[in-house]
Amino acid sequence: MDLTYTPEQEAFRKEARAWLEANVPAEPLPSFDIKEGFEAHCEWEKKLNAGGFAMVPWPVEYGGRGADLLEWLIFEEEYYRAGAPGRVNQNGIFLLGPTIMEYGTPEQRTRFLPRIASSEEVWAQGWSEPNAGSDMANIQTMAIRDGDDYVINGQKTWASRGAYAHWLFGLFRTDPESSRHKGLTFILARLDTPGITVRPIEKINGKRAFAEVFFDDARVPVANQLGKEGEGWSVAMATAGFERGLMLRSPARFQNTARKLVSLYRETVAAGGFVDGAVRDTVARCWMDAEAYALNTYQTVSKLMAGAKIGAEASLNKIFWSELDILMHETALNLLDVRAELLPGSPAAGDVGDWLDGYIFALAGPIYAGTNEIQRNIIAERLLGLPRK
């Protein structure tokens, strides 16, 4: 155990910092849940990719720089430090990319990975259906083979960034006789395929954050299946592992929020605002939890680099960051007092920052990527050995 960075790691940090300082947009981009913001974020991703920083842990041939996971963490730290834009193609870079590297054919890797890295192709995830939420094995959208194509019929829903994305990956039932986890196949579909209709859904703040996707005899080449036919469930579990586990929510995100919360606390005290011991204690707790999350991630990365795998432990992660995110934003809104409800730009709002929007987003954390109830079931059954039934 040695918690100090090597000179190479420090040098990489410097390089990333210098590039980010020179290139991060001075003004925050508009939300990627509106068309204009989506496009601005795609432009940013292209720039990031041109600078060689889109996906540092990927192999060089796919647009990465072959960095190890520690360097990825360092990059993320610098990314949040620089206040750089959210990753519009997070489904592609953090979830699908690693899955293609594990399960894709060589052709699929060269076809998809570089365009993920450049965000020339932005991805939506298509797991959920009206009758398959937590019970994902109840997926009913059919993909029936016809020659070199799958003919798809059915409906996906809640696809984040689906309103503007170019592609969708997800699970489809390729064996009509099958049920539950069997007979599912992991398929990649272009969203402009004839027979596919995307209908945006507004989330509680009115932004088009996700979409329903309807399939009506949509033909998708069989070559776009990832992994073997009928084995989609295990491919999807790998993707879900990436999501809950390491990549989706890097620690720097929460450490950065904790820092902002501490600043807000200090400003509130300096301005003579209402602050009681309970708020003070909670701010300290938020800081601690953000630290614990960062340290836990470093532990996980150290284990992965030593050759270990993460399994059900990813569920611990998902609960921890999602609850922490809510606590931090809730505490910030407490500190903002009556201004907490004012939208940025409202005349009396002053500098309310994006706490309210962040809070609304944080509230979804315990729902998406597998609800926290489902994660608790996984922890109890797989880590603590409690009976399923």
């Binding site: 790691q9 520690l70 904790a258 340290l295 608790r376 603590l384 409690l386 039934k389």
Partner: protein, 356 residues
């Protein structure tokens, strides 16, 4: 950068675990409650055979020359098995304090004790500023007591001890009636302050490490019981309300673990953030262990509420450790002082803030 333990460190942990699993059963722990001292010299001698007391004693003094990064895993196991012997005072705090005293000029004193500690022949009890009471003073061969910025090495034969009665029957706490003198003073001024502070932070870390083991044991007991006990024709562990309680406790313990291991590194390296790092560890591990106790009790139902069942052995240890070396609330306040008011150095791990 490597935040993992070496194979040797894991091996040491396994050795201690295997030993305690065989020797330090709940029955054994409870058996000691009714003895006069509540401690066993024979057991201590066995611990010395596997090197525990001398873990951090320098090799030239007959120890293993390790540091807190090795010790932390051992302490975790002593918590898991509710060991009552004075590992916190003697092994985690007194040994490095004596090493520090040697460096600040008390070589003779240190040399005369370190070898004996490693050999399992001496127990040292230490005091600290967060409590007027001293643990295990009744079996100590030497008392190291702070007095402001000073440290005093006191002969237990020259003090008055008043035994207390703790809710945790394994605890042996004493009020010590003593008077500091020139004769007993072994450190003072700046050097003394540094040693007092470091000793306190080591005690904090040690309690936090034990709490990890206590918390895990409480969860494991709950999980085991939940797979065996049937109601409504099924194992109660199949009920989600039961599952989710234990899952929540597991989340808390695992994230406390990260803070505790980091604190061990900060102490071993004497980092400027040491005080805040041990405080975060203690606050989190204490809360994790005490809430694991509550969840496990609920999962056990009435049987867990009985004196006969062993659950309360660990519940009470979780409480008593939470009160040792500063309560959770006290440590969180110290974190707040550091992070919010800048009164102590605090840094976020890896993340360098803008402007820094």
């Amino acid at each position: 950068m490597d935040f993992d333990f070496s194979e040797d460190q894991r091996l040491l942990q396994e050795t201690v675990k295997d030993f305690l699993e065989g020797e330090c059963t709940a029955e054994y722990v409870r058996g000691l409650w009714d003895t006069q001292t509540g401690r066993s010299p024979e057991f201590w001698a066995k611990l010395a055979e596997i090197g525990v007391p001398g873990l951090m004693v320098p090799e030239q003094a007959g120890g293993l020359g390790m540091d807190e990064r090795d010790l932390v895993l051992v302490l975790e196991e002593t918590g898991r098995y509710a060991l009552a012997e004075p590992v916190i005072g003697t092994v985690a705090v007194a040994v490095p304090l004596l090493v520090g005293l040697a460096e600040s000029g008390e070589r003779k004193l240190a040399e005369s004790w370190l070898g004996r500690i490693a050999a399992g022949e001496a127990i040292v009890a230490v005091g600290h500023d967060r409590s007027p009471l001293v643990s295990d003073a009744h079996i100590a061969d030497l008392l190291l007591l702070p007095h402001g910025d000073e440290i005093h090495a006191v002969d237990p034969g020259e003090v008055g001890l008043t035994a207390q009665r703790s809710n945790d029957q394994s605890r042996r706490l004493f009020a010590v009636d003593w008077a500091p003198s020139d004769r007993t003073r072994v450190a003072s001024g700046q050097a003394g302050r540094k040693l007092v502070d470091a000793a306190f932070d080591r005690g904090v870390l040690a309690c936090a490490a034990q709490q990890l083991g206590v918390g895990c044991q409480l969860i494991d007991m709950g999980a085991l019981y939940a797979t065996q006990r049937k109601q409504f024709g099924v194992a109660i562990g199949s009920f989600q309300a039961v599952k989710h309680r234990l899952a929540n406790a597991k989340v808390q313990v695992e994230y406390a673990r990260s803070l505790v291991y980091r604190a061990a590194h900060s102490v071993a390296r004497a980092l400027p953030t040491r005080a805040v790092d041990v405080s975060m560890a203690k606050a989190a591990a204490g809360e994790a262990a005490t809430s694991a106790g509550k969840e496990s009790l609920q999962v056990h139902g009435a049987i867990g509420y009985t004196y006969e069942q062993d659950l309360h052995v660990w519940m009470k240890r979780a409480w008593s450790l939470d009160l040792s070396y500063g309560t959770g609330a006290w440590h969180r306040a110290r974190v707040a002082d550091a992070v919010l008011d800048g009164r102590l150095p605090a840094e976020s791990f890896g993340f360098v803030p803008p402007g820094a």
